[in-house]
């Protein structure tokens, strides 16, 4: 009995430790950020359009980076969502089981490819294509970042939609077979309408994935802190942190500014993720009837 109690308490303690890391992370980031906000007002930080930590006085305006992050993520989601939903419909409704068996692990594998490899491939394929076929100043652009990110978030869109579509299909399979409803009819009048929530969940998930993505975007977007334009360079918030963190002195204003940028990103993503969590829960409970 005693051993049992010890084991249960050890599990409890470790669970507490694990979830408290979330608070640790938040606290550490927030602590440094608040020191920054004491010197630079939040509003200036959010609406300033110049980022130049080395100037005198240094300028910390995050607006171009915020725009760039939102722009790239929206672009990527706009590309990935229709393709991913289409693929999920094909996989769940039309593809014979053998093809599903072959493609699903491949799509999982696609999600498992490290982002630095995506970035490298994007640089070699997408950016190079832009540079050789268009007369832009450089191939590194918001468009390249958007296309690459779209490919990266595709597996998330496909698997989120596929899971809920397959549930709907199983639910109606017998009734539809008995009525000899065609697959195309089922797709249009059953699968697509009921998948709306799942598609919305996929939208939120892919936006949050895209916004937090660091390496791949950083490698193809060019990284200059200016307002984003589809065919020109830009810099996202994660890229800003990854690039400048190495050069910022611990405890300096620049260092704290990077934490503040991280805090903003984290809060936005936290909102998105909570949203996704509740939609997902809603779907899971809704499908059971």
């Amino acid at each position: 009995m005693k051993k049992e109690l010890i084991f249960v308490w050890a599990c409890k303690a470790l669970t507490l430790l694990a979830v408290s890391f979330l608070f640790f992370i938040f606290l550490f980031i927030a602590k440094e950020s608040f020191m920054f906000f004491q010197k630079t007002p939040l509003l200036h930080f959010l609406t300033g359009s110049r980022w130049n930590p080395m100037a005198d006085p240094p300028a910390f305006g995050l607006l171009p980076m915020i725009f760039a992050t939102v722009y790239v993520s929206l672009l990527a989601t706009a590309i990935a969502l229709p393709i991913g939903v289409g693929m999920a419909i094909i996989l769940s409704v039309l593809a014979p089981p053998k093809i599903q068996w072959l493609l699903l692990p491949l799509i999982d594998l696609m999600a498992g490819i490290p982002s630095v490899v995506y970035g490298f491939a994007g640089l070699m394929i997408i950016v190079k294509f832009f540079e050789t076929h268009f007369s832009w100043s450089s191939g590194e652009s918001v468009l390249a970042g958007g296309i690459l990110l779209a490919i990266m978030i595709l597996p998330y869109v496909v698997s989120t939609c596929y899971e809920s579509m397959i549930k709907v299909l199983h639910h109606y399979e017998r009734a539809s077979r008995a009525l000899s409803v065609s697959k195309w009819h089922m797709m249009r009048y059953l699968v697509i309408p009921t998948a709306k929530k799942a598609i919305f969940a996929a939208l939120i998930l892919s936006l949050s994935r895209a916004m937090g993505e660091t390496m791949a975007v950083m490698m193809v977007i060019g990284n200059s802190p200016i307002f984003p334009h589809l065919f020109r360079k830009a810099e996202t918030i994660p890229a800003l942190i990854a690039l400048e963190m190495g050069g910022a002195v611990v405890g300096s204003l620049h260092y704290q500014a990077l934490f503040a940028a991280g805090l903003i990103l984290m809060l936005v993503l936290f909102t998105f993720n909570s949203f996704f969590f509740f939609i997902r829960k809603h779907i899971d409970e809704g499908i059971k009837w």
């Binding site: 409890k12 979330l22 490290p114 490899v117 916004m211 937090g212 991280g262």
Partner: protein, 280 residues
């Protein structure tokens, strides 16, 4: 007539579906094909077993220290990640009695999964490297990678535990056997394959990550690490440096290929073991 109308309006739907499938499969093929073909040219025994050489460092030579470094980062990450994730999963699946605690924990774990990797790197830098004084080292990098894969492992292990056949658990409990004994002698041995598979997948996730170890553990060049407090090279970071600083594109292809092959091994080996066991 009705049939005709139906067919006409199906055309855009078909076009959309098939072109999206085409796009997904094409991008998969291009991605893998490109790296396998280009990387295959670079691959040789000396590339795998030598240290980086030449000026700038990495133009010649191989990636052996990076392979060793990646291995240790992944091992520490898996160990720490499962050290946190397994008890959490066991607690949430079997011992937590109040539903709101379970929901709260699920929500918190889900939120942890959503933290972008660069923020984890930032946290690891202030907490492990500066505050705790571990320095830029295998340990700092490994721990932060462990925190990164914790939600991934926890969610899947909890699912595995919950899917374990209920009748065995119930039978055992109705015989008056304690929950803990049931857990260790019946449930965990039965779930071991799936748990191992999940940890391996988490490991592959950790091995590919760059942003968390960018300031916490990975460096431009280091010999194979001697202790957990020494900094190390990592394949993912090495690839980033080779490309980002334009050192050597051909070596970068080789590194990317090695990284992907290692990840494939981590993904496929548990599957093969599973299949062999089932056949027996």
């Amino acid at each position: 007539m009705v049939n005709d109308k139906g067919k006409a309006s199906l055309f855009p739907l078909r076009l959309w579906l098939f072109s999206s499938a085409f796009f997904v499969i094409a991008s998969l093929c291009v991605l893998f094909g490109y790296i396998f073909i280009q990387g295959g040219r670079e691959l040789s025994l000396s590339f795998l077993t030598n240290t980086p050489q030449g000026f700038p460092l990495g133009v010649e030579g191989g990636i052996w220290p990076a392979i060793v470094g990646s291995f240790w980062f992944t091992t520490i990450a898996c160990a720490f990640g499962s050290f946190l994730a397994l008890p959490t999963a066991i607690f949430l699946a079997f011992y937590a009695k109040t539903t709101w605690i379970v929901s709260l924990c699920h929500f918190l774990i889900h939120s942890m999964a959503g933290i972008p990797s660069i923020i984890l790197g930032l946290f690891g830098y202030t907490f492990f490297v500066v505050t705790l004084g571990f320095g830029v080292s295998l340990l700092s990098g490994g721990l932060i990678l462990g925190i990164m894969i914790f939600p991934f492992i926890e969610v899947r292990v909890e699912k595995t535990l919950l899917e374990f056949p209920n009748n065995i658990t119930q039978a055992s409990i109705s015989l008056g056997i304690t929950k803990t004994w049931t857990l260790f002698h019946l449930i965990l041995p039965g779930c071991m394959d799936d748990i191992a598979k999940t940890i391996a997948l988490g490991g592959s996730f950790a091995m590919g990550a760059t942003a968390p170890i960018l300031f916490t553990g990975a460096v431009l060049f280091a010999p194979s690490p001697r202790s957990v407090f020494s900094p190390a090279m990592a394949l993912s970071n090495h690839l980033y440096i080779l490309v980002g600083q334009g050192i050597s594109i051909s070596k970068a292809y080789g590194t990317a290929l090695v990284l992907i092959v290692l990840l494939l091994i981590l993904n496929v080996v548990p599957l093969v073991i599973n299949m062999c066991r089932k056949e027996r």
